[in-house]
Amino acid sequence: MKFPRIQIRNALFCLTITVVMMLLNTDAHAQTPTDDIMMPSGQVCAAVMYSHASWDQYWQGTTKLTNGNVGTLTTQSVSPMAAIGIFNWLNAYVGINYISAQPSAGTLAGTYGWQDAGIWLKYEPLNRSFGPGSIHGEAVFGFTGPVGNYAPEYPYSLGLGCTNTSLGGILEYEHESGAYVRGEAAYNERGTTTISEDYYYTTQQYYSNQVAIPEAVNYTATAGYRIPSGEWYAEGFFSGQHTNGGFDIRQWQAPFPSNQMDFTLVGADAHYYPPMLKGFGTLGIIVEGSYVLTGRNVGQTTNLAAGLTYQFNVWGHRD
């Protein structure tokens, strides 16, 4: 079953979903809807992702440790999200996370609840043919913030508890064969987190319940292949985050929202569109896996995720 090329590109927007799910996590793969696909005006893609992440080793500063009082920390999340094609060159995204974090050892209780929600705008100023293929460039502006009332300072906290304003760029080159490469980077400005204690000690004291969270940059390099019929694509990626400031987890202590959290990871994902429901929209299945290679004040997380995407026409342009 062949999909018209433009339809493929519309449907492929939902690649975004694979990382939107992680956008809202502190161990995020990336912080922006991170592909080059733009939805045409009038199309909506609804999706839900389930992820299962776990680590039994973490970095206390730059020292890798296991902690018998944690064992293995398993974090599961369910992330419903949607993307809306406002104009062909402007898309909006919304997403929210529900998370459960459970240790396998120790006396501390696990946590669960709504985490953060976010909204992004993606603007495509660059879209042109280039040699035997095409080149695309997008700018993404995003805003996320906590919606659950989780305690950010809790050792198994669901999130950082602060707002995150991000600005990023994406550049992709797609060869006519279907192979493509993509690079992206984003700058994340974090807000202030409120904790219950009105004194805390990082590398010095603070007589306050306000914690300034340092800004972070993240980046991803991706290489992949889309089959010409559009029925599936698969890609591998290398991603990283660097936090500009913050402090290292103190000796044998719990993490804290203003830690300096850095990491690199590798992963792969694939998206398959089974040829069904023609005329009612496009259904897709995503699978993704990633593994943290290096880190600072983060867990060495193995993450597996799967989800469903459903793209359909709401107004105007029909596919």
Partner: protein, 527 residues
């Protein structure tokens, strides 16, 4: 496929707007690293303060302070000229230091003590591999303070003792200072010479010996002893405070030298007590065979049918300071005599009721309850509950515009009262050696489980001793103190690391120890 222009004008404008929003949000807030102490004038100078009863000194003249030179002497005039020239041309560092120390340096020293406590309040991390005895954990040693784990481990028994010695020594030293101030009645330099520039409020307090120098010297000696690895920092702060007395036009050099000598001598009396108060034996050194926790556990098992154990992995073989209950108290004649009766037997109806309450919180904790549980945690990495209470006292001290002598009295009775409560609590904990809810009932917690037995609650003990003392000092704020102490005790039950009866028992002994401190305080001549 549509071809868009690479970058259109509207795109540029949009990106510019977004970037400027960004840059605006880049402003990081200024998070305070110090409690603001507004400059205030003292409600009273307590000219009779030299006659108040010290806590440890035998009299206000136990330490001799010789008479100062006359203000008409050449020596004094030279000092005055030298100080005046310093005070007339302050660098920005000097001005900032004067601001930093302000009108009540004792509050600033208490903050320094809080921050040093937080810095050193780190439970030892397990070694990668166990030693020949199967033990993973080192023990800090004052003999080798830099070996891992560094000395001290500033847990609550340690921090309350540190504060008690520091604040009681300050109080006694300032009683002596007030005695000599009014005995020698040397006027402040700005009284003798109206052209002395003063950067702090002028008062009628005689200036010899300098109270700031007394405060600095006592703090240096006691805190150097308690935090030896930070002695360079502590001594530099003491020197800075003594210099501030000169830079601000408050004192001349001989005022400062006499105050420094007096402070050091009084602190030495307290250090001598500290060497024999039993703290040396409170925490055994690294295991080398059977140890005190073993015998405590055996006795408890035989007497009561239960015993406590640490629930960490790897397991810590000894609790924190198992013999702290034998440390010398300040006001309680017999710690054993005020020890509460036993907790309910594990599995008894009273035990089951207490566990049911905890399970209720495990199933559904309100946001307000969780907030209290976290706000009062004051666990590893924090400044500990006793220092939390010292901070609560700041507000009342400032609002009542207390002079340094009265401020020292507040800290002295607050901390010695809390220390007696800590001794009683630790005596109780290791006498009954009662297992935690996580151990006896499998309850999960919202904060980390401290490394000592359950009954009774330290938070309840410290907090009710503190609330009792502070309410006697500041009756108008009594409702706040009671509410805070109630929250502190409840926090442990909301977090499910204590049974309700742990907190009830701690509340009782806390009030008993607070009342014992108040009884001595009310008879010290200050009211």
């Amino acid at each position: 496929m549509k071809k868009h222009l690479c970058i259109s004008a509207s795109a540029c404008i949009a990106i510019f707007i977004v970037s400027s929003l960004f840059i605006q949000s880049c402003k990081k807030p200024d998070i305070p690293t110090q409690v603001t102490v507004p400059e205030y004038s003292f409600s009273s100078l307590d000219s009779n303060g030299g006659n108040w009863k010290p806590l440890l000194l035998t009299s206000n003249s136990q330490i001799a302070v010789s008479a100062p030179d006359s203000i008409n002497s050449t020596a004094y005039q030279q000092e005055l000229a030298s100080m005046k020239s310093m005070a007339s041309s302050l660098s920005s560092y000097q001005s900032n230091s004067i601001q930093y120390w302000g009108t009540n340096p004792l509050i600033v020293w208490e903050e320094i003590a809080q921050n040093l406590t937080a810095k050193y309040n780190l439970p030892p991390q397990p070694d990668a591999t166990p030693d020949a005895n199967g033990n993973y954990y080192g023990v800090p040693s004052s003999a080798t303070p830099t070996a891992y784990p560094p000395f001290p481990f500033a847990h609550p028994p340690y921090s309350v003792r540190m504060s008690a010695y520091w604040s009681a020594a300050e109080f006694d030293a300032l009683i002596a200072a007030w005695h000599y101030k009014y005995l020698y009645n040397r006027p402040a330099p700005y009284k003798t010479d109206k052209t002395v520039p003063t950067a702090l409020p002028q008062t009628n307090l005689p200036s010899y010996p300098s109270e700031n120098a007394v405060i600095a010297a006592v703090a240096a000696v006691i805190l150097d002893n308690m935090f030896p690895l930070d002695s360079v920092y502590i001594d530099s702060k003491a020197t800075e405070l003594e210099n501030v007395s000169l830079w601000s036009g408050m004192n001349v050099q001989s005022d400062v030298s006499a105050g420094d000598a007096l402070g050091r001598a009084v602190a030495a009396v307290y250090i001598a007590r500290s060497k024999t108060d039993g703290m040396k034996n409170a925490q055994p050194a690294r295991l080398n065979g059977p140890h005190v926790q073993d015998s405590i556990n055996t006795v408890a098992q035989n007497s009561f049918g239960w015993q406590w154990k640490n629930l960490e992995t790897p397991q810590r073989p000894i609790g924190i300071a198992p013999l702290y209950g034998s440390v010398k108290p300040w006001f309680i004649p017999s710690i054993a005599a005020i020890r509460p009766g036993p907790p309910p037997a594990v599995g008894s109806p009273a035990f089951n009721t207490a566990v049911a309450e905890l399970q209720g919180y495990a199933n559904s904790l309100t946001d307000g309850q969780r907030s209290i549980a976290l706000e009062w945690n004051d666990g590893g990495g924090s400044y500990t509950p006793p220092e939390h209470w010292n901070r609560i006292a700041f507000t009342s001290i400032i609002n009542n515009q207390l002079n340094p002598l009265r401020t020292a009295r507040v800290f002295a009775y607050l901390n010695t009262g809390m220390m007696d409560a800590a001794i009683s609590c630790w005596d109780t904990k290791y006498f009954y050696d009662y297992p935690r809810p996580s151990d006896a009932a499998g309850i999960k917690t919202d904060i980390g489980l401290p490394n000592f037995p359950s009954y009774s609650s330290g938070h309840a003990s410290f907090s009710w001793a503190a609330a009792t003392v502070l309410s006697a000092l500041f009756p108008g704020d009594a409702a706040t103190f009671s509410s805070d102490a109630t929250d502190a005790a409840n926090s442990r039950v909301y977090a499910r690391i204590h049974y309700r009866f742990d907190c009830d028992a701690g509340t009782q002994t806390g009030q008993t120890c607070g009342n014992a401190a108040v009884a001595v305080m009310k008879a010290d001549g200050a009211n």
